[in-house]
Symmetry: C2
Subunit: 334 residues, 2 copies
């Protein structure tokens, strides 16, 4: 998978290809404390998440022979929808391996996009092994959710968009981080910007790998997290290589901090953000990452489970968050 | 108030002034049945509603003397925030007359923007009389929520933005309608487009006025509606004049249809839309207004009460709407 190494030029090419079919997502002004920063609303992508970028760049880069054989992906939901969306548009058969406990909305959306969904048991079954077995039996090209070089380049296209919207390189990009595909792509796409990956408490497999200098697997007793989109068992060597010495790791957020961020996005941005999509905002609101006027916060996904989202929003009504809900929002043309 | 009559040229000038401080709101693709139409996401304005347009155009058009005397507005919440936002930015004192039962989020946001809020009892007190008394005592310029010519021109700026984003005039614009300020502005700003105002059941004061050819007041026993932003007692002569023979009235929506539209926006657009902001989408989803590929649906406001919004979203989970939630979303560059 890593015979091709992702590059800045590859990110630029991906951004051009993606701009041909997807309008830029808005860069919205948002005030954190007293600092006006920017929120990149990837929740407004057609599938509700940035994953459409990497999936599109990977699938249009397939050879005719590869296209004919179909694609196989493994995903808790957003990469699944990205691959399914791109595959349907290109007339490619897509088979997606998803955890049995993926949010219903993500399973339904993936199926609605025409993909075949194969469920596996989390954590007993190894999802990569399930995918490998499918490919051994039926053929097809694996589109890895974060370790694929084209996927990394595609996700990085967001950085090219951001720089064009701001008219300059952002000082820093704070991003939600699962396996590290987006973080690695942003590091490539925004070489002059600090990159701050934010991970759920206990699921900081990128942060731990960077600290250890080698891959680290999730602990068997890792805590529950509401960030279903940010639960990789382990990152990949390519992500670790691209992020080492480049990103500022070590930032984790709790479920409560994430819920506060979801309510903040509801109240001040009128955007629906799923838990895993709100991790970067949560870190900024909690003061865990420095912010300045050139800061961009990635809002990576908005495929929220309705019942869980309703409970989060209603809880904010009952016990209104102090600081977060009192942040105000002002605007300024980028 | 009507010594100045709003014009298409005025709308164009308003659009230029507004573009200088506010980036265009996204025009998002959305599929209604099998037709791909467009949703204008005015919920992404800094105050969460289109009202910022008319307020800005009105306030920057004040003379120095008028600015020094301050402004007075009457509003259930979104016009209040628009005027407060513009006034703060221009250093103008703003006093806003709001109903005592306005959503808490709108009261809090208006105060947070630095405006003085004066409450009145709905329906016992005449809100316009309260405002007139304030002006008689303390001076100031009234900024009417929908009958002011500059406000109408400002709201119409959305039509100029839409045409630029689509690259052509929309075939039709379906819009939420309260007093008719936005509908009248759109009629001026999009002279080649059909205009479809959508009003809450029992509060179709624009539709009834157009049918009668004269102003009609809300019935004392008008039904409850969750669309707090769309409850005028009566429209104004200027709105009736601009819409007569121009708009297609007579479309009303029920609370249930509005809630279905709110859930649709949550699930497929990842946008928070308040009840009054979802009326146009509700009419389209219910098949009450024809749609074609050049159709634009206005999503006018996103300042939703958290508890009510949570209940609406949770109800969708329990008894998932059939057709609405199965609509899918695809994209296409405008």
């Amino acid at each position: 998978m890593t015979e091709r190494f992702p590059t800045h030029d590859g990110v630029v090419a991906a951004a051009q290809a993606i701009a041909a079919i997807l309008p830029p997502t808005p860069l919205l002004p948002v005030t954190i404390g007293s600092v006006q920063v920017w929120a990149k609303a990837e929740v407004l992508q057609p599938i509700g998440a940035f994953k459409i970028r990497g999936a599109w760049w990977r699938l249009i880069s397939l050879s005719d022979e590869e296209r004919a054989g179909g694609v196989v992906a493994v995903s808790s939901g957003n990469h699944a929808q990205g691959v399914a969306w791109a595959a349907r548009r290109l007339g490619i058969k897509a088979t997606i391996v998803m955890p049995h406990d993926a949010p219903e909305v993500k399973l339904a959306n993936t199926r609605a996009l025409g993909a075949d969904v194969v469920l596996y048991q989390r954590p007993q079954e190894d999802r990569d092994a399930v995918a490998a077995q499918l490919i051994a039996q039926h053929g097809g090209t694996l589109v890895h959710a974060f370790g694929d070089p084209w996927v990394i380049e595609g996700q990085g296209s967001a950085a090219i968009e951001i720089a064009a919207q701001l008219g300059r390189a952002p000082s820093r990009i704070i991003t939600c981080c699962g396996g590290g595909g987006l973080a690695a792509g942003l590091a490539l796409g925004a070489p002059d910007s600090a990159i701050h990956p934010v991970e759920p408490l206990g699921w900081d497999m990128v942060g731990q790998a960077m600290a250890a200098g080698e891959l680290v697997h999730a602990a068997p007793d890792a805590p529950q997290t509401i960030c279903d989109a940010l639960q990789p068992n382990v990152t990949k060597p390519i992500n670790l290589a691209l992020l080492s010495g480049r990103a500022h790791p070590g930032v984790t957020v709790t479920d409560d901090e994430v819920r506060t961020a979801q309510r903040f996005a509801f109240n001040t941005l009128r955007l629906v953000v799923e838990p895993g999509g709100a991790a970067a905002l949560a870190a900024a609101l909690a003061g865990k990452v420095p912010v300045d006027e050139g800061t961009v916060i990635m809002l990576t996904g908005g495929n929220a489970d309705p019942a869980a989202y309703a409970a989060t929003i209603a809880a904010g009504e009952a016990g209104r968050d102090g600081t977060a809900d009192r942040h105000t929002r002002d605007t300024q043309r980028p």
